[in-house]
């Protein structure tokens, strides 16, 4: 093995220091939310500044969050949306991305252009709503799933990954007479697996956070996803305050600690997903280790 040069050692230390600083900085928002959620409501209201620990310790906020029936419905609905939406999105995106990465299709570029076009131009809220209404999807979970089944951005990412697979591999399989699905699943997919996992993560997180379509298309509060329930609790006085009639604004707001508890409850489950997918991204680390 080659010995480390002095420059490399300095770099290593520098690298680690940067990473530690970034970790502290990026961990803080979550810590802040967690601290606030466990804080005593009375003391939290009196506090301004940056929390470094919970003020007192109280689980009262969590008790009232779990007493809210919407939270439980929300969990169930979100779970359905995330699982179904991610499965559908990933399947369509992988197949679509693969097909559009094949080089000898005459219509490939036309289709790509037409698809990219939709990232920029759309009909706007009302025609989109009427379209969903005509399809009879209003007030169903399908209204949230289908109109956003494919994310064009993800499709482009996926296609880019397939493009970098050497043509020779695919062509030799074609010569062997394998059909395209077999080539996709046997050859292309394993090579692009890290990107597929990125897409899985993107879809899952998007579904987890999605609230706008739910708000527009759903009427029955029992069908609301968690993100919408969360938003309803958080939004009450933030952005609306600028136009609100001042006199009518006299309403008791939800206590601060409850707001933060809701954020924790609504965020933790999706955070857990990452470590599971992470193993697909860390191959690079092993390369680095070998390099050393």
């Amino acid at each position: 093995m080659r010995r480390h040069t002095r420059g490399e050692n300095i770099f290593n230390i520098f690298d680690i220091v940067i990473m530690v600083v970034l970790m502290v900085l990026t961990l803080y928002p979550l810590l802040y939310v967690v601290f606030a959620s466990f804080s005593d409501g009375t003391r939290l209201m009196r506090f301004s500044g940056l929390l470094t620990h919970p003020l007192g310790f109280s689980q009262a906020a969590y008790k009232s969050v779990f007493a809210n029936p919407n939270i439980m419905h929300g969990y169930a609905n979100t779970l359905i949306l995330v699982v179904a939406g991610t499965a559908m999105g990933v399947i369509l995106t992988v197949i679509g991305g693969y097909c559009l990465s094949r080089k000898n299709m005459m219509w490939r570029n036309t289709i790509m252009l037409a698809i990219t076009f939709t990232m920029f131009f759309n009909g706007g809220l009302i025609p989109t709503y009427l379209n969903v209404q005509r399809l009879g999807l209003l007030d169903t979970l399908a209204a949230i799933l289908l109109p956003t089944a494919i994310n064009t951005f993800n499709l482009i990412i996926m296609r880019t990954a397939f493009l970098s697979i050497p043509d020779s591999l695919v062509e030799s399989a074609e010569l062997d007479g394998a059909n395209q699905l077999i080539i996709l699943f046997r050859i292309a997919l394993p090579l692009a697996l890290p990107t597929v996992m990125v897409i899985v993560l993107y879809y899952a997180v998007e579904r987890w956070n999605e609230w706008f379509n739910a708000m527009i298309y759903l009427q029955d509060a029992k069908k609301f996803p968690l993100a919408l329930v969360l938003r309803e609790i958080l939004i009450q006085e933030s952005t609306s305050s600028m136009t609100q009639d001042v006199g009518v604004g006299d309403k008791e707001s939800v206590s601060l600690s409850i707001k933060y508890a809701v954020i924790v409850v609504a965020t933790l489950p999706i955070l857990v997903l990452y470590p599971f997918l992470q193993k697909y991204f860390v191959k690079g680390v092993m390369v680095g280790a070998v390099k050393g």
Binding site: T5, E8, F11, D15, M19, L22, M23, T26, L27, P29, L30, Y32, G49, L50, L92, I95, C99, L100, N104, M105, M106, W107, I111, I115, T118, F120, F121, N122, G124, I126, P127, L130, N131, P147, A149, I156, T160, A161, N179, L181, P194, T195, M197, V198, L201, L234, I235, M242, T243, Y260, P275, Q278, Y280, F281, V282, G284, V285, V287, V290, K291
Partner: protein, 317 residues
């Protein structure tokens, strides 16, 4: 098979359109078949409602619908261009966008490369898992924290005061708005944005590193000649997409951070339309502004794609 391919690759001279069409379909039948669900999706959910864009040329009222509303030609566009704030919001939007392109775009790439050089697997995993957290905290909370960090009695001012500077609320200073916006953007998006590059890094062929080492390349050289070229297609595509977003600066973060003292640098197209929308509910106008943004963005994207095709061989089409 080989022969067919060779014919296709230089069709311009050899075959008329209908013949090429047939040949193409015969050859790629399976691919087209597989694309049916995708194409159906784009037609049903994207292209069918697209007739709605015409409201940019209407005095649109939801109650009357598109068929019932009055046509006003380019009035909405003219109103927008002749608004007293137009120059200001366009300038601010472009400044924020370009700053974001210069600083926010490369940050996750550099971060991914730095992470790639870490030795400890557990440490790498921890860095990844923690740095992506801010992406999940709601914008209202993040902006609340930014305010608390930058207020005159806040943490950053404590440091400034420690070194003998004077305290000031940074968000009241128009000159500091863009830096605060950009730095916080990096803070929020660094870890999340790096994931795509990390995935690309895993695809780098290990043999290339070994070959480079045999050639006596140090880590810097390896990064330069092996790692970066390997993730270049992803970088280029992300860059093209970012160019196609240049006029889209989201309103949510802006309206949570700006105040009347910083309008002059902070007010952007989207926040302007947001304020107007709340008070005036002018659908046609909002649609016109949206269309203006889209046209500019789309043109820029096409240009970027063309340049990229010419120089890097990576492109969207």
């Amino acid at each position: 098979m080989r022969n067919v391919k060779n014919n296709i690759s230089k069709p311009r001279y050899s075959k008329p359109f209908s013949v090429r069409l047939k040949a193409d379909f015969r050859r790629n039948k399976e691919l087209y078949l597989l694309l049916i669900p995708l194409i159906a999706f784009y037609i049903i959910f994207k292209y069918v409602p697209m007739y709605g864009s015409v409201i940019a040329f209407q005095d649109f009222s939801p109650r009357l619908g598109i068929t019932g509303s009055d046509w006003v030609g380019f009035k909405n566009f003219i109103d927008f261009f002749s608004d007293k704030s137009f120059i200001r919001i366009l300038k601010n939007t472009v400044i924020i966008s370009f700053s974001s392109l210069i600083f926010c775009f490369p940050a996750p790439i550099i971060f991914a490369l730095l992470m790639n050089e870490l030795r400890s697997k557990i440490f790498t995993r921890s860095v990844q898992t923690i740095t992506y957290l801010p992406h999940f905290i709601s914008m209202v909370v993040i902006c609340g924290l930014i305010r608390r960090f930058t207020v005159d009695t806040g943490f950053i001012n404590d440091i400034i005061a420690f070194f003998g500077g004077t305290r000031s609320t940074m968000l009241n200073n128009p000159k500091l708005f863009v830096p605060i916006y950009i730095i916080s953007e990096i803070w929020q998006g660094l870890g999340w944005g790096s994931i795509i590059y990390l995935a690309a890094l895993t695809g780098v062929d290990q043999q290339l590193y070994e070959a480079a080492m045999i050639d006596g390349a140090g880590r810097w050289k390896q990064t330069l000649h092996v790692t970066i070229p390997a993730i270049m297609p992803t970088v280029v595509i992300m860059f093209i997409l970012k160019i196609g977003n240049i006029l889209n600066v989201g309103y949510e973060k802006i309206i949570l951070l700006y105040n009347p003292l910083t309008y002059e640098t902070a007010d952007v197209i989207s926040s302007f339309v947001y304020r107007k929308g709340l008070l005036e509910q002018n659908w046609g106008y909002s649609a016109a502004v949206g269309m203006f943004n889209s046209v500019i963005n789309f043109i820029l994207l096409i240009a970027a794609n063309k340049l990229s095709k010419k120089y890097t061989e990576t492109s969207l089409w």
